[in-house]
Symmetry: D2
Subunit: 346 residues, 4 copies
Amino acid sequence: MVQTKTELLSTEIKHLDIKKYNFADMIDSMGDTAFQARNLSRAAQIFDMMLKDKQCGVILCLAGSLISAGLKQVILDMLENNMIDAIVSTGANIVDQDFFEGLGFKHYKGNPFLEDTKLQELAIDRIYDTLIDEDQLRICDDTICEIADGMQPRPYSSREFIHIMGKYLQDHGKDKNSIVLRAYEKNIPIFVPAFSDCSAGFGLVMHQVKNPEKHVSIDSVKDFRELTQLKIAAKETGLLMIGGGVPKNFAQDVVVAAELLGEDAPLHKYAIQVTVADERDGALSGSTLREACSWGKVSVVHEQMVFCEATIALPMIAGYAYSKGSWKQRAEREYNNLFATTETVA
Amino acid sequence: MVQTKTELLSTEIKHLDIKKYNFADMIDSMGDTAFQARNLSRAAQIFDMMLKDKQCGVILCLAGSLISAGLKQVILDMLENNMIDAIVSTGANIVDQDFFEGLGFKHYKGNPFLEDTKLQELAIDRIYDTLIDEDQLRICDDTICEIADGMQPRPYSSREFIHIMGKYLQDHGKDKNSIVLRAYEKNIPIFVPAFSDCSAGFGLVMHQVKNPEKHVSIDSVKDFRELTQLKIAAKETGLLMIGGGVPKNFAQDVVVAAELLGEDAPLHKYAIQVTVADERDGALSGSTLREACSWGKVSVVHEQMVFCEATIALPMIAGYAYSKGSWKQRAEREYNNLFATTETVA
Amino acid sequence: MVQTKTELLSTEIKHLDIKKYNFADMIDSMGDTAFQARNLSRAAQIFDMMLKDKQCGVILCLAGSLISAGLKQVILDMLENNMIDAIVSTGANIVDQDFFEGLGFKHYKGNPFLEDTKLQELAIDRIYDTLIDEDQLRICDDTICEIADGMQPRPYSSREFIHIMGKYLQDHGKDKNSIVLRAYEKNIPIFVPAFSDCSAGFGLVMHQVKNPEKHVSIDSVKDFRELTQLKIAAKETGLLMIGGGVPKNFAQDVVVAAELLGEDAPLHKYAIQVTVADERDGALSGSTLREACSWGKVSVVHEQMVFCEATIALPMIAGYAYSKGSWKQRAEREYNNLFATTETVA
Amino acid sequence: MVQTKTELLSTEIKHLDIKKYNFADMIDSMGDTAFQARNLSRAAQIFDMMLKDKQCGVILCLAGSLISAGLKQVILDMLENNMIDAIVSTGANIVDQDFFEGLGFKHYKGNPFLEDTKLQELAIDRIYDTLIDEDQLRICDDTICEIADGMQPRPYSSREFIHIMGKYLQDHGKDKNSIVLRAYEKNIPIFVPAFSDCSAGFGLVMHQVKNPEKHVSIDSVKDFRELTQLKIAAKETGLLMIGGGVPKNFAQDVVVAAELLGEDAPLHKYAIQVTVADERDGALSGSTLREACSWGKVSVVHEQMVFCEATIALPMIAGYAYSKGSWKQRAEREYNNLFATTETVA
């Protein structure tokens, strides 16, 4: 049953539109059951509490492969409706997947049983049950390189670089339904603390190799400094964390960083994590939010772990809060305005 | 049963010394059983194959909390006996835990049932069943700041910065049993691609805030460039990955990066991953090494996933290879010599 | 914060009513996304296919603590609407939880952080985040003993015994919303292959100790024989399995048993399993449905594993099929009529 | 790469012999590390404590596929050296795997990537990475039928039936290295509370269908009664549980059953569970031993969960206790003598 590249890349992933459905009552009812349904219900209610709380800035943390998995529209809907004020993410979500789609490329439905050596020959990359045209990913790399080539050579935070990527999509993007673009338009900062760990890394390595003396660099300290600045400005904050990894740690850490800078930043007042990771291996991704309390990062009053895979849990949590409508009273925060606008393009 | 801080921080974690034990025959025998014992056995044998293969450079990837968990000596033994030629790690392992112990501080045995709000009041940080004196961690942050204050203001790779941390420990360290120190002495590069995501981030943010105009920055692109350079120089490579996250992705990606730079770098010839993460959520940490083959990163000939928690699996894999002794024929690679020695201290 | 028994047992678990919600379109849309959302979508569609297939008998397998977790009404709705023709379950669900509620008792919301030694003193039993009054559970045990005391002393299948429990609830039950009662009324067989492994075991041990010579016994072979007989009569079958364990294995095995009896029973044509268990430990609960194909039990054409906790996944799968309405064309099967009606009560 | 049945069934699983290795010091040292290594160490030490405690009867609980996975010799060594006084198991381990090997059949190394439809055609059954000749399994079924045909028609406990299987192996077995045989010879009871849920079920269904009026039946209540009787006689008890499922629940429940019979049976004094199951789905298999305390089953003083796959953890726990040698002072308990010797063979 040999398939060609065209056959393998024939069925597109379609992004789920939570605005079409209202299941808020069901999620409230799940609060009277048990186990993860009850946890999911409480998490959704805490997210809605964050949005009701006028003082609270909301930070969305993204790890895993969420955009390729069809969750882009869920995140866009949260951005567009002022449900999210900042994003901290892995590079894959923002560059390889969202920016990639912004360039007009797509993700395709596959399955986990395909033969990977065969896919390699066909230049198809697999993410569990999803497929990507590797040649298109190379164009994405090249585009990053091209963007960097046009920038003033100096250290940038990933946030600054992603802002410029948003500008690029505004000018040249083919799919306007992009998180990077929408965040650019709405002045919402996106941080990718391990920015080289994705297609951006490939593009920027090419840029630096071409320009060995003077080039763009990505200063991960600046990212941390800016996110800390945001925390100090926001005061009260809530975290909606999908997966763990660097985004989770990075976003939690800013409370401590603010304190070290002599600022009186409160613990994250609300915290939700959706994950299937396990606390029993002692790794950060599965560590409980209670454990984060010992570190002085997260308050235990409104925290909830949900042990559920994100493609199921995120639409339900976001859809719940969308249906509830508390976001309608929220102002845009445009946290990007906190940071000096430097002339970044040569 | 209220405990004081002194009582809580009374029993030190002790690092396991695999050199004392020889269980290689048992691990070979496990290869004739099934499930994860068989996988563990095959992983140990593949690690020994890497060491026998004179052409193969070995990269150790570290995620999770391994040093605090008593695995420092296992890693030191691998460094000292030329079983490892480069390290890619999360910041926690290298800075918050190894460098921290190099400064003379310790980790302590606790348990997962302690009350975290109480720990917070006592300034004790918890990692599952392990405890840290938060005041000592602040000294670690300050030390990073102090080191940065003494450096020329420019972008550095994390590898460069960690090399300077090694020099610091040589001069000022209190516990000479340190990965950062030993890697410094043996010219073994350590990369931390998300360098701000740990105590180093706290120290460097303080440094940058104190020095807003001219300061040290950490260029994560340079890290990627250097590791790619290492891959190109090494040609054949093997990965021993403990946990997933950024180190796994970063180390796998260099094959593609080398290709993009027009260099003919082969797939990673050997690859082992020890993890409890699950492929079924589509995230990178649990993604199979076969999946990495579709991306053109890892060969499927000698790859093995071991689904086991690292404190059990790593001593067995490392201890097996130590007992087998193939490392005795290996030369030091001193990959740090690949990179221009720039004057880094002001 | 010491709580009394009354305080701890104050908030009842309420059973989720899927009939109130229609999220079928969302679940269809999830089929165009990835990972477990896509798997959940396909599982829901396969369940609807089973119901559309007039030739197909549907067997529901239940493991884990589902009734105490608020899923009783979901299962009742499937029974009442001819979406399920037989049940294979662990004893906890059927006796300790459903029959227990039939006697008028309740489950209560707790949390996983309660102190278990304290609960033991208060005679409160904990299931993760759910609480039970142990004194009421003892009444449940006694009721089983009392029922057995009134029966003819001979070996029974668990199905026969549970049928008599249904009669008991019809006569004496306080909560008519019971799976055991509804199955009795609708002639739907319920099998509990490890019948002693629950409150029924306690009651029956008391019965046998009181009646050492002549007593009721539970013949697990008879269960297997009857379920095989059902499979032979049903011909085409589909499995909706929640959790793994004995019910999963038992229900899959009947295909082989039928073959051994010289009957030409087809593989289970449809199979769904909702679980968080992992195939990597080689245990049955997490073993894939593809693996079951090697055993000649399950066809791989319409099979789907969903890696999601049941309190979230089952309402979505059952609710989807309820909304679709294919069950409206299904006839009652009353499989209990397959089995000789023996006079069972003394 | 099509393989024949002979090629696929060519490499035998070999049972690990823990008596050859001494890694007790390493396991003690793991107690000073963290996470699962520390848990494993404590579990091994608790097992040794059970053996030192002259008052304590030791019950081994087995779930999952352990014998096919090469752990038979580990269990045999525990039986032969009085480290175990009773076994509660799933049927697969005892009948399909141990008794099957006693008849002279073998398990073979395979891998999880074989095509299951192809295996089905070849009559090869797969357990994750292990293969079985289905034709030989049918001989095992037939042997059970033949044994039952020769027995007096009446209800038996699974323990009684397995005892007779041991006698059969003594007379007719081809591989004397059998758990069923050794337990028979040493008067150690083996309970399989869901006895039909395995090859025994197939054989006994054939027996009952051939003998519709008068036949052997398996009374699961009698099993529970006998195990309760054992608990009452043993007084102090310890549980070594590999996996969860019915054996875990059944063995824990006897404390409650004894109490219901008016006997003063203490909580299980020691309890160890090796599992990869997760408490977060509320199912029994992953429920903590602390939770079992709320049910009045297990004391929390000496209990330890080890989250590790059994093929790795069991040899280490059993090997530790074997090396320590506390078993040398233990007397045989021959708990089978507690139960009336009835003439069971026609």
